[in-house]
Every structure is written in structure tokens, then in C-alpha cells.
């Protein structure tokens, strides 16, 4: 499955989860008719208010999980592009020097900071504003994971914005002629540099 397909799947699961929570809240609101739907669930034995509060809490939780999931797939894809580029070095020459260089590079890539990768490498093929948006999502993702009270809240990233931004970036990269998985057919991309 391509990373773009993975993002689409994650988004689909998120939408279904939202709808399921909506159905649950409607069942609570119309409990006289819907108690059968709530039978054998954790909604039994709590008040309506508590049930709706937990549904809201669940919604907030899945919003967070969506951003974490999208970022995991996205970041993995960026590192794969770097690995692919490193593979290209191998195609150019088989000297022992270039081979050692490539091996070292591939080992070190995993330790490079994502902000540096975005600025220093993908900055060659992506617009600065788009990279800025991605870094905001990364900051929000880090805050979700660590909840460091010493760090200021980075500002809310909505699920829709996270999905749209990361999908746009992967779309641009997929179609960019400089990247090894690019196809012949490329559309005009506002995100691409140097055209």
C-alpha cells in the first residue's frame, strides 16, 4: 500500500469512528427507543450526561490519534525517499569509497532530525509555506505525545488540516520528477519549486 493510500485509509477509519460516536450519542439522546442499542455496552449504568461527556472525550481522543497516525505514515515516507536517493548513489558507481559513503549515509539517515530534513533536503522540492505547515503539524504531534508542561501549547491542528497538508505534500513528492518514484505524467503543482 502506498503512503498516500495509507493516509486515505486512516482518514476513512477516522470518519467511520466519528459517525459511530455520533450514532452512540443519538442512542443516548433517544434512550427510550434506543436502549437496546446500548445493552451490553459501557454506556449502561451511567447517566446521560456522563455518557455524552465520555463520547465527547472519545471524539477528542480519536482526533489526537488521527494526527499521530497520519504523522507516522508521513514521516516514514520521507525517510523512504531519502533511502531511495541513497540507492541512486549506488547506481552511479561501484567504487569502494562510494559504497562506504552510501552505507554510512543510510545508517545516519535514521538519526537526522525531521525539521532539518524538511528544510535542508525537501526544501529543494517543496514550497517554504508548505514546509512551514508540516512543521506546525510536527510540533502539535510532539506536544500530543509528550505533553511537556514546560513547552507552550503549539496551537490546535484540526484533523482536516493535518490530513490535507500531509496528503498534499505526499502528492507533490510522488509527482515530482526529481524523486525516483515520480511518473512521466505530472500535473502542475503549486507546491513544487523550481519549475
Amino acid at each position: 500500500m502506498s503512503s498516500s493510500d495509507a493516509l486515505v485509509e486512516i482518514w476513512g477509519v477516522y470518519q467511520i469512528s466519528l459517525d459511530s460516536l455520533y450514532v452512540a450519542s443519538q442512542s443516548v439522546e433517544t434512550k427510550e427507543d434506543s436502549l437496546g442499542l446500548l445493552k451490553n455496552t459501557l454506556f449502561m449504568q451511567i447517566s446521560d450526561e456522563e455518557a455524552l461527556r465520555r463520547i465527547d472525550s472519545g471524539k477528542s481522543g480519536i482526533d489526537d490519534y488521527l494526527v499521530l497516525s497520519l504523522w507516522t505514515v508521513f514521516e516514514r515516507q520521507l525517510y523512504e525517499y531519502l533511502q531511495q536517493e541513497s540507492g541512486r548513489l549506488a547506481e552511479r558507481g561501484a567504487s569502494s569509497f562510494s559504497s562506504s559513503f552510501r552505507k554510512k549515509l543510510e545508517r545516519e539517515i535514521e538519526y537526522w532530525r525531521i525539521d532539518d530534513i524538511l528544510d535542508d533536503i525537501f526544501g529543494a522540492v517543496l514550497e517554504k509555506e508548505l514546509i512551514g505547515s508540516v512543521k506546525q503539524i510536527k510540533k502539535y504531534r510532539d506536544w500530543l505525545v509528550h505533553r511537556n508542561p514546560k513547552k507552550a501549547f503549539p496551537g490546535n491542528i484540526t484533523p482536516q488540516r493535518a490530513y490535507d497538508t500531509l496528503s498534499d505534500v505526499l502528492s507533490c513528492l510522488r509527482d515530482h520528477p526529481d524523486l525516483s518514484c515520480a511518473t512521466e505524467e505530472t500535473g502542475v503543482e503549486a507546491c513544487r519549486k523550481g519549475d
Binding site: V28, K31, D33, L35, G36, L38, K39, N40, T41, L42, F43, M44, Q45, I46, S47, D48, E49, E50, A51
Partner: protein
């Protein structure tokens, strides 16, 4: 006062009276207090709570009112100790609340009313061991001591 709230408060008092009777020979002591409650359906009201203490005066468990109306029940009181919390549900309908279910019928399905919980007989306080299994057990002296021991880890002779 709303009749449902009145029933909940009366049944809570009745439960506590039974608990006091069951615990009388054991050497534990009981103290009562009123707690402030607030529910959307009933507004602000007070309900009784009970603290159960060992012979040395240390609290081992508490009966805490939670709500006069819950999904699938007509009131809830929690038995809470250092080890566990157990939910006791008031069911005022014979057989417990009924829910709409569906049974296959011919080429379609038939709507039937079924019990929300299995094992419910006459109205009273019940403990649902597992929400997923949905089997209810009426709170009587034997069950109450099991739950109290489980909640508090206190050994009753």
C-alpha cells in the same frame, strides 16, 4: 419532588437499612452523611452516603450515591473500597428494563422486547457482574458481604 427521585432516595435508605442490619453482628461501625447531588433531570438535591469503618475506626468502604437516573437503571449507588469499586443499580421494574430487540422471522425479522439484563426478578438493587455478559445479581446479604470483602479486602468472620 419528582417521583423517580423520591423512589431512588427511599430505596437507597432501604438498602442502607438492610446493610446496617447485616453488619450489626460484625463489629464494624457505620456513619452516615448527606451529600450534595446535581443532575440535569432533577436539579440539586441531597442523598445519603454511608461510611463503613473497622473496629479501629479506619474507613474500609463507602456507599456513595451516584445518580437517581442512569441508562439501563433507575438509580445507582457505588460500593467503593481501597481495592475495588462495585456499581449497584436500582431496578424498579419487574424483570428490569426492557429493550427492543430483533429476532429472525421467516425472510425478515420480528421486533421483540427483551430484558436489558438477565437474572432480574423483582424490583430492587442489583449488581451487574459484567456489562458485556449482562447478567444481574440481586443484592442480598451474601452478595453484599462478597462485594464488601472484594472492595475493601476486609475479612469478615
Amino acid at each position: 419532588m419528582d417521583q423517580a427521585l423520591r423512589t431512588y432516595l427511599e430505596q437507597t435508605e432501604s438498602l442502607y437499612a438492610s446493610i446496617e442490619e447485616w453488619l450489626a453482628p460484625t463489629g464494624v461501625t457505620i456513619s452516615r452523611e448527606e451529600v450534595e447531588m446535581l443532575e440535569e433531570a432533577f436539579g440539586a438535591y441531597t442523598a445519603p452516603a454511608m461510611t463503613i469503618k473497622n473496629g479501629g475506626g479506619r474507613a474500609i468502604a463507602r456507599m456513595q450515591p451516584v445518580a437517581a437516573r442512569v441508562l439501563g437503571g433507575d438509580g445507582r449507588v457505588d460500593l467503593t473500597g481501597n481495592h475495588q469499586q462495585y456499581i449497584l443499580i436500582l431496578l424498579t421494574e419487574e424483570g428490569g428494563p426492557k429493550v427492543k430487540g430483533y429476532l429472525p422471522s421467516g425472510t425478515g425479522r420480528e421486533t421483540v422486547m427483551t430484558q436489558a439484563y438477565r437474572g432480574v426478578g423483582e424490583p430492587g438493587w442489583y449488581w451487574i457482574e459484567s456489562i458485556r455478559r449482562g447478567r444481574a445479581y440481586r443484592v442480598d446479604r451474601v452478595l453484599f458481604f462478597d462485594l464488601l470483602s472484594g472492595a475493601s479486602n476486609y475479612v469478615f468472620e
